[in-house]
């Protein structure tokens, strides 16, 4: 058989490790969306003294590459400290798997991003941010790059979808160009909140839809 995947990718695809959900996880993160065809969710259980990853599990909606990289990343990250785990790269995941076809690299990036965001989320919610940099609009924009608009499958910052972002005293307002009764309005609002709420100095996140502004005028 001459599939474009290495033997190891196929092995992990067929028999993924660390599959499932961790109940009462200390942190979690979702990358991608079903709309873009790949989605991975990571759960972390972290030892609060050693900051070592005690348990890590994943769920995947995606292709073989997505499943295999998510699985290998859970294995690499297991028992590592958060600092060590942060340094895991997609290249490392890909190398451990014996390489990935170029068109499938984005699936590996997705899994690594999920790990990074999950660790960041943990740090924010557990007071581990060393130099507590105040959240700026740029930080928010950076985080919103991971929210995929299910209508287009492109992240919300790439397309002209976010009209404005307001930030004052830990209160964030995100103005989206979408009506509140749109099929995906709730989905997008939830994803945006999921991204911004873990930030240490953010108290409240509000999503303002096009029609809610109009009615206020």
């Amino acid at each position: 058989m001459s599939l474009p995947y290495s033997k190891k990718v196929l092995e992990y695809f067929m028999h993924p490790k660390n599959v499932g959900e961790i109940e009462h996880a200390d942190a979690s993160a979702t990358e991608g969306s079903p709309a873009c065809g790949d989605m991975v969710k990571l759960y972390l259980k972290v030892n609060s003294d050693t900051h070592k990853i005690d348990d890590i599990k994943f769920q995947s909606y995606g292709c073989a590459s997505n499943i295999a990289t998510a699985s290998i990343i859970t294995e690499i990250a297991q028992n590592k400290t958060l600092e060590e785990a942060k340094k895991i790269t997609w290249q490392q995941a890909s190398d451990t798997l014996g390489g990935l076809p170029p068109v499938k690299v984005h699936c590996a990036v997705l899994a690594v991003d999920a790990l990074k965001i999950a660790i960041e989320n943990y740090e924010h919610t557990h007071g581990l941010i060393k130099e507590k940099k105040p959240t700026t609009i740029d930080v928010i924009k950076d985080r919103l790059k991971h929210v995929i608009n299910p209508i287009t499958g492109i992240d919300v910052m790439q397309v002209n979808f976010i009209k404005d972002i307001k930030l004052k005293d830990g209160n964030v307002g995100v103005f989206v160009i979408l009506d509140s009764n749109h099929q995906f309005a709730n989905n997008i609002a939830e994803e945006i909140k999921e991204r911004l709420e873990p930030l240490w100095d953010i108290k409240d996140v509000k999503i303002i839809f096009s029609d809610t502004i109009d009615s206020k005028k």
């Binding site: 599939l3 079903p34 709309a35 065809g37 995606g62 292709c63 073989a64």
Partner: protein, 391 residues
């Protein structure tokens, strides 16, 4: 190692060539291999020409046209290019500059039409409904005296929906437009009569009906002015240059000659059985394409499995020896979800989770039972892995 059982269910892509076709084609590789030539030539050349003539006769009879109205090509993609570009090129100075296609066309129609936009033609896309049927009312509104061509796929290669060709042809003719249809998938599986259905141009191909790859034909109604797109000698009534693919054309004729409508009936009931078994064994399955199975390509079934992604399904099934395809972005060369399913108004998720099963006369009930058993396991495993659950 035990040889893996192989169940090939990708027959809307291509089929296994029938043994009788291979045997017949061999004659043209071994004995009648000369260039088909005029009746004044040498004997081998005349034998080759007779091979082509016979095929042309068989196929024209099957679609009810004259032999002079059938142009052999390298396949349906070339036929679609010839029909659309050839017609446009011979009408560059005409007042008609509008080309109407649907959103569920094959890439060869889509891109042929789009390429003409550079030469000043305007391409309009008629809506299809969520079963893939062309919206007749919007087509009526779209056609006008500026419309040169309406090109609509007869039977959809992906979701199997069969259009009401005659109605679409009539609407086209009312404004004086030419009607072309890509019948690559419907040809032989469904009834086609170019006279009765008022078709002006039609693309067909051999490899989807147990014939060889690399040969197809374009039916061009007498009087329809098209310019050739491949220049050279005067072959194929000067519509298509290049030495004729004699063995291929002969094989095409043979495949049509031996095609059995009885077998199509059997395939249809096997397909129906497959759908029943999938529904009975797997939850949360959505049917894509025509719900009325009489308006589907008889060998086609396309369904979406919720909460999971198609490439993973395809790969797991492949490891169990079952060959199917998906409309998922991961699977496509362009990393794009099936434009056909999206044109039908479906979400990306539904496209990503879609699987096409297309059967052949070589499949058995046992193949289908094996497929459903394996499929059930694969879908369950992937759903257990998925972060998305029913809401």
């Amino acid at each position: 190692m035990k040889k893996l059982r192989e169940v090939y269910l990708d027959n809307n892509a291509t089929t296994r060539v029938d043994e009788r076709v291979i045997r017949y084609m061999n004659k043209f590789f071994r004995n009648d291999y000369a260039v088909a030539s005029s009746q004044f030539s040498h004997a081998p050349g005349i034998r080759a020409k007779e091979g082509i003539d016979l095929a042309r006769h068989i196929i024209s009879k099957r679609i009810n046209c004259d032999v002079e109205e059938l142009v052999f090509t390298s396949g349906a993609t070339e036929s679609n290019n010839l029909a659309i570009k050839g017609l446009a090129m011979s009408n560059q100075d005409s007042k008609r500059n509008k080309i109407i296609i649907s959103g569920v066309e094959h890439f060869s129609v889509l891109q042929s039409a789009q390429s003409l936009e550079k030469s000043g033609f305007k391409v309009e896309t008629v809506n299809v409904n969520n079963q893939g049927f062309v919206d007749i009312e919007s087509l009526k509104k779209l056609v006008d005296e500026k419309t040169l061509l309406v090109s609509i796929i007869a039977g959809n290669n992906e979701v199997g929906t069969v259009q009401d060709i005659k109605s679409i042809a009539e609407i086209s003719h009312k404004v004086g437009a030419i009607f072309h249809t890509d019948a690559a998938v419907l040809f032989m599986q469904g009834q086609i009569d170019v006279q009765e259905q008022e078709i002006d141009m039609m693309s067909i191909t051999a490899h989807k009906i147990y014939g060889p790859k690399g040969v197809g034909a374009l039916y061009v109604k007498r009087g329809t002015k098209i310019e050739k797109i491949i220049d050279g000698g005067y072959q194929e009534f000067n519509f298509r240059s290049g030495t004729e693919n004699v063995s291929g054309i002969a094989g095409f004729g043979k495949a049509v000659e031996i095609y059995s409508d009885e077998e199509t009936k059997k395939i249809r009931s096997l397909r129906d059985y497959l759908y029943e078994q999938i529904k009975n064994n797997i939850s949360e399955v959505e049917l894509n394409g025509a719900e009325d199975f009489n308006k589907r390509i008889p060998n086609n079934l396309n369904v979406s499995f919720k909460y999971i992604e198609g490439e993973s399904v395809v790969l797991h099934l492949d490891m169990r020896g079952i060959a199917v395809v998906t409309g998922s972005a991961c699977f496509s060369r362009a990393l794009q979800a099936s434009h056909i399913l999206l044109a039908m108004g479906f979400s990306h998720e539904r496209a990503h989770g879609s699987i096409r099963f297309s059967l052949s006369k070589y499949n058995t009930k046992d193949d289908i039972d094996y497929t459903v058993n394996q499929l059930k396991e694969v879908v369950e495993n992937l759903r257990n892995l998925s972060p998305i659950k029913e809401v």
